[in-house]
């Protein structure tokens, strides 16, 4: 492995010696006020605050408005903008190249909940170590305002009529596919989005973030369930969530018995401060029940819905060398000449 090339500090720097500028991307080409832009900004803030070196990350996306956003953060990071609904397979293959890289993937409801449903389910079930954000706005933006599979039944859109079908619930789908990290948030709640991103990046496995991210152009009517107004009105937070990095003292202030603490594989902790209810995010059946209940009550339930820190990730399952696979020398990849005699002897 080669040494990290450290950039000269300019202005305020983090522990990696980098300024916030080092985490920026190209200017966004999405609409003013799009929820996706605020999520991109929270990815930048989270990576900066976690002292992540951009070269230690790799970005993925599929096709759609959401999938354009990886160019709007982490300019110094490799990325691949794949095919519609088929980012999960691309990421699965690519993450084997260098197992020390963190995966950050951005998809949308059109990309994940229709053509991408199969690959979404399978990347979840394989527990690929990667943050998988679904920027969920219930509508196809790039093709100008058609219904997506997460649009609520009864939603009326200009030129499209009224949606007759039941919606797909991304968090539920993740949960029934045995995801090891499932969270839901709202792009209008910047602090929670950022803390969840940090926890998701730190998690050693698939971390699904279903973030309601309003489309200001095609689906932001007050009564639409993916709008800013509806989100503000109906958000119910499961807990007040904070990410505490490894080996750092817990600064969050809470009384005895008023918080649940989840320790991640690297020693980082997630502190879940109790709000209206006591909720244990490691209980999968409770999580399923609660999501059903929230849907029935038409609540936008946000926070860490489920976490399992015990499952090995896909990369842990394979018995691979410490050296990243893409740096193995030829002599470690091509078997010796002598071995071929044995092979030929077997072919009679």
């Amino acid at each position: 492995m080669t040494d990290q090339v450290v950039t000269e500090p300019r202005g305020q720097v983090n522990l990696a010696g980098l300024t916030k500028t080092d985490y920026r991307g190209a200017p966004s080409t999405l609409c003013q006020g799009c929820g996706h832009n605020s999520i991109a900004n929270q990815i930048i803030a989270a990576c900066y605050e976690m002292n992540i070196v951009p070269e230690n990350v790799v970005k993925f996306s599929g096709i759609g408005c959401s999938s354009k956003s990886p160019t709007y953060f982490l300019n110094r990071t490799f990325g691949f903008n794949g095919l519609h609904g088929r980012m999960p397979s691309l990421a699965t293959g690519a993450l084997f190249g260098d197992h020390t890289l963190k995966g950050i993937a951005v998809s949308g409801d059109g990309d994940t909940a229709s053509i991408g449903m199969g690959q979404f389910k399978h990347i979840v079930r394989r527990n690929v170590p990667m943050m998988y954000i679904v920027e969920n706005n219930g509508v196809y933006g790039l093709t100008k305002g058609q219904f997506s599979a997460t649009a609520e039944r009864g939603l009326a859109l200009k030129h499209q009529g009224t949606n007759a079908y039941m919606p797909v619930d991304i968090a539920l789908e993740a949960l029934v596919s045995n995801a090891t990290f499932v969270a839901r948030s709202f792009a209008g709640d910047a602090r929670q989005v950022k803390e969840l991103i940090k926890a998701a990046i730190a998690h050693n496995g698939i971390a699904v973030l279903d973030i309601i991210s309003p489309c200001v152009t095609f689906n932001n009517q007050d009564e639409a369930m993916h709008s800013y107004a509806w989100g503000k009105e109906h958000e119910v937070m499961l807990h007040d969530l904070s990410y505490v990095p490894p080996a750092q003292e817990i600064m969050v202030d809470y009384a005895e018995g008023e918080a649940i603490e989840v320790t991640l594989h690297d020693g980082a902790r997630i502190i879940l401060k109790k709000l209206d209810r006591t909720y244990d995010p490691t209980d999968r059946s409770a999580a399923l029940r609660m999501l059903e209940e929230a849907n029935r009550k038409q609540e936008l339930l946000t926070g860490l819905i489920y976490i399992n820190t015990q499952m090995p990730s896909l990369l842990d399952v394979y018995d691979l060398p410490e050296t990243p696979l893409n740096r193995l020398s030829d002599s470690r990849l091509r078997p010796s000449r002598e071995t071929l005699d044995d092979v030929n002897a077997m072919m009679v």
Partner: protein, 611 residues
Amino acid sequence: MLAEKTIPQADTPKSGQQVVNDFSITVATVNGSGSQTSNAAIVRSIFEMGIPVGGKNLFPSNIQGLPTWYTIRINKDGFLARCENHEIVVAMNQATFTQDLADVQPGGVFFYDDSIRAPITREDVVSYPMPVKKLIREREVPSNLRDYVANMVYVGVVAYILNIDMDKICSALTFQFKGKQKAIDMNYGMVTAAYEWAQANLTKQDPYRFEPMDKTAGFIMADGNTAAAIGTLYGGVQFVSWYPITPASSLAETYFDFVPMLRKDPETGKTTVVVIQAEDELAAIGMAVGAGWSGLRAMTSTSGPGISLMTEYVGLAYYAEVPVVIWDVQRVGPATGMPTRTAQGDVLLIAFASHGDTQHIMLFPGSVNECFEFGWKAFDLAERLQTPVFVLSDLDLGMNQWMTRPFEYPDQPMDRGKILWEEDIARLNGDWGRYRDVDGDGIPYRTLPGNRNPKSAWFARGTGHDENAKYTESPEVWERMLGRIKKKFDTACALVPKPVIETMDGAEIGIIAYGSTDDAVQEARNRLAASGIPTDYLRLKAYPFSPEIEEFIRNHARTYVVELNRDGQMQQLLTLEVPERAPDLIPLAHIDGLPLTATWIVTALTAKEVK
């Protein structure tokens, strides 16, 4: 037998005349009855006796119950293509008994399970009953194994009548059962009992027999899928994603045995290749493209329907310039078609797979040995050219047993292509562009995820991009980029394997063929020459076509393109290459799902030549 017109090929043997090492044996069984082991034992024993032999399984798309045939061609001169004649038939399947009997060539031999209640209506064949049930009862075989061991009865009877060396059968079974003594004893015990029964009860009345030769020294027996997988392991493959599909599955399944043997890291003992069964072909290609982009030698193996599904990712890999290797073990299409039958029908689909302007490199292994060779070579081409490389095998080559030259160790070091690491970017002071044509060969330089130089990263995309991988919809840039990618295809002409050309004195006409038809073409040329039509032969190994191919076409009055499809797909590609010679490029295209025979070629070509 499968419905086909039987074209007489050799004369019926005259009485008293011996036929030695030149005939074919067809075994008719019920699918799923375990005849693979017994057939393989016969083939391996004949091979060990030094006699050229090849075995082809003609099987239905079914796990258990439908009829299946295994044909074994024995030829002292080494012509091992399938042939239409059935000199010797072993009938173990009641359902096809009457047809099997009808298909025996006059003067031929008919071995049959005597518990099948059907009349022997032919007087022009020699028939031998086999008391399969009785012998099984006497051996006290456990009831769950009876069907399997029953097949050993015909091995023993055939061995006695045709003179197969029993020691060779014993060693073949020892090999197949990997030394497990109990299984060897049970099966070889049955073979011996059947042999001894035949010795005591049958009198040889037919002219066919095996005599030991020395014609198999320097050869091995293998199938193309096994050879391909092992070849890729010697090519340093690091990532395989696959989805089960006949006839490609056995390629990926070969890794279960050979990865532990061949790919433990010499330094750490860890495994240096990832094999992953994807959820479908859409994901299999996605994973392979992701792995190829991240710098791994990545591949997937599939058949026609899988290629259809992979097409969009192939287009992205072409335009984003990602190396990836795709094995297509072809079967009969369109649609589900005949999944267990062989074809060369994906040539045009692959040549231009995906929307927009695309053109892909294809390799055509013509032997099992070449499956091994292209196993490693395809990665060198894919990484050098930064593009998908397809290897087109087929069911016949991939799944059947062929006599072939031993696998040869790669004669070139691995070519990882143009890759820049941290120190390279530093040396360039960060002034590089992912899609710049620095060397004039159309091939740009690439960096890989994990490169820690802050100037190394780039964003791969299917959208329009410039030399620095930045998004653009500039008309000039689009045209320039696509033109440069096409230049790589010209560069590829000089890098892909050259064709093999074989000439004959006085030949005015040429034959072009590729892949699994080589044996049939060679045999056909021999017979055509004997009937006064000498031919030159060019066996294609790759697309794009190297200059020798155009020259060959120009140098012959007429060139016949022999292939296993309806539309003469390779002939069409060649016509695009040499349009002015189109009238003289004559398709000899044939598709019925069966491996090509010399007789078909001789008949079809003669009909065109003799008018």
